[in-house]
Amino acid sequence: MSLFPTIFLRLLTTLITLFGVAVIIFVIIRVVPGNPIAMMLPPGATDADIQRLQALYGFDKSILEQFLIWISDVVRGDFGTSISLRQPVLNLVLERLPATLELSIIALILAVAIGLTLAITGTRLRGSRFESLIDMTNGIALSLPDFLWALLLILLFGVLWPLFHISGRISPALDLPFTSQFYLFESLLRLRLDLSLDLLSHMFMPALAMAIPLAAIIGQLLKQSLKETMHLDYVTLSRTKGYSENHVIIREALPNAILPTLTLIGVQFTFLIGGTVIIERLFSYEGLGNMAIDAVINRDLPLIQGIVILFALIFTLVNLIVDMSYALLNPRLRHA
């Protein structure tokens, strides 16, 4: 099987990438101005106090020394202690990660669902006057970045017509039986659909804001490749067998047309996850992104490092999964 060395190679490059990210982020946050210790001490603290704490956190050593200490700890699974929250970075980060993952996945599902609908509807309407309506919808969706959609959604559905929650992850009044931080996943497993619904109605606005631009990109690219595929002989042949236009599009054309879109979704999904940083802030959603902003404001170096490494890890994993599903969906690659 040729898949095994491929995976091994990918894991190796993943490790190298992560190391590179670690070096860069480590250096950058120590070069930019702003002293984390000064920020955590009350205004009256003396220089001596600052010196003492600097030494405690190891900030008095050279950057190279600091890096070597940190990286050897990381290899042993110790990401240090957050300066502002005074807890192990690993615990903090892992506690927030599920919220961000759930939000990103819901956003991705929304984006794919809307994008597919746009592409398939557009393909059905191809050649008619209404096709341009789909193109226009795509164009509008693409004209604003996710955080501006977020503001628009907050204004429309939070302020003007308060239909959806625009703040937090779950209603504070609810009793939470959860043992993990994967609230949505767990509530579905426990069949507590009331909680699932509450979680989803909190996620809907932020997820939609992240989904809209991605949905438009998916819709545009997929419609293009679907339209090209619809001219191919096997699609025509399937039509002569008595199948409906929907069936022909979805079963014959889609599996062959979707490959380029799939790669694109992979790349864009990492951008979408990156978008959680601002989106979570705007919707006061208790996730990793929101924590990242606090960490930067507080110059919480260990926490920033931990969050960045985790984001980098997620990005490379997503890319790996996309590449593998690409091979699975394309029989010619699979047998190569």
């Binding site: 191809r126 050649g127 191919l232 002989d233 096997y234 025509t236 042949l237 399937s238 039509r239 002569t240 067998k241 008595g242 199948y243 409906s244 014959e252 599996p255 062959n256 969906l329 394309n330 029989p331 010619r332 047998h335």
Partner: protein, 293 residues
Amino acid sequence: MMKPFLSIKNLTVSLKSSKEPLLRSVSLDLAAGNVLGLVGESGAGKSMIGKAILGILPQAVEITAGEIWLNDQELLRKPAKERRKFIGASTALIPQDPLTALNPSRRIGPQITERLVDILDWKKDAALARALELLNEVQIPDPERVMHSYPHEISGGMRQRILIASAFAANPKLIIADEPTTALDVTVQKQILHLIADLQARHQTSLLFVTHDLGVVSKVCQHLSVLYAGKVIEASEIRDFFKNPKHPYSRALLAATPKYNDPASSLTPVPEEVIAEVEAEIFAPRTECSHVN
């Protein structure tokens, strides 16, 4: 002639944009169990006729007049969904290019059996057995393995056999073969031709055979229609046609067919009077306009 199974009456197909007709009042009849050859030069509209019957005309064109009767039912007046199912259940297409006519991401098996199961409501087992039976009939070695293969694992000649098996599997009353051998290697062309003729005779299927090879027509067809610039200019029985072609264009066509055992024969151009006759009609509206001016 027996009562025709397929009967096209005054079919006109035009470009949506310019209203320019691509088929001009085409009529043809095909009796049940017979083979009708459809010949004509490239661009004459042969494929367009097949597409009109199967309901797969390109988006840029539309049917502006005419009727298509299949087994005493008029297709064009049927509601779209009903027509689709009716066509799927009673006709099949043998396409020109076997390399592009199978879906590359699906296994061969379901591509043969799907019509039986989804459109004709056969049981899965029965459809599977039928597909294997047909693959045997078209002399595919190891049909079970082929059913599990993807198209790219099969050679072009084999794929055309598979498409032929797939076309005959549902016992269609009418098969449209649109130049089924032109994309193939010369060495396999003959085998595929024999195969189609053989299956047609055995299953008593009506066959509309599109080609520009008169040699092929003389071997497989009982009747033939000659198409030129979207018009049927001659419809004859095969014997009459080769003995005594009525239309000057047909004579030119016959003369242009290379006789391999006669090196002295050379290509004959389309006779001037034919071009003049057809063009007179095509350009008539414009000529009238120019007279007005």
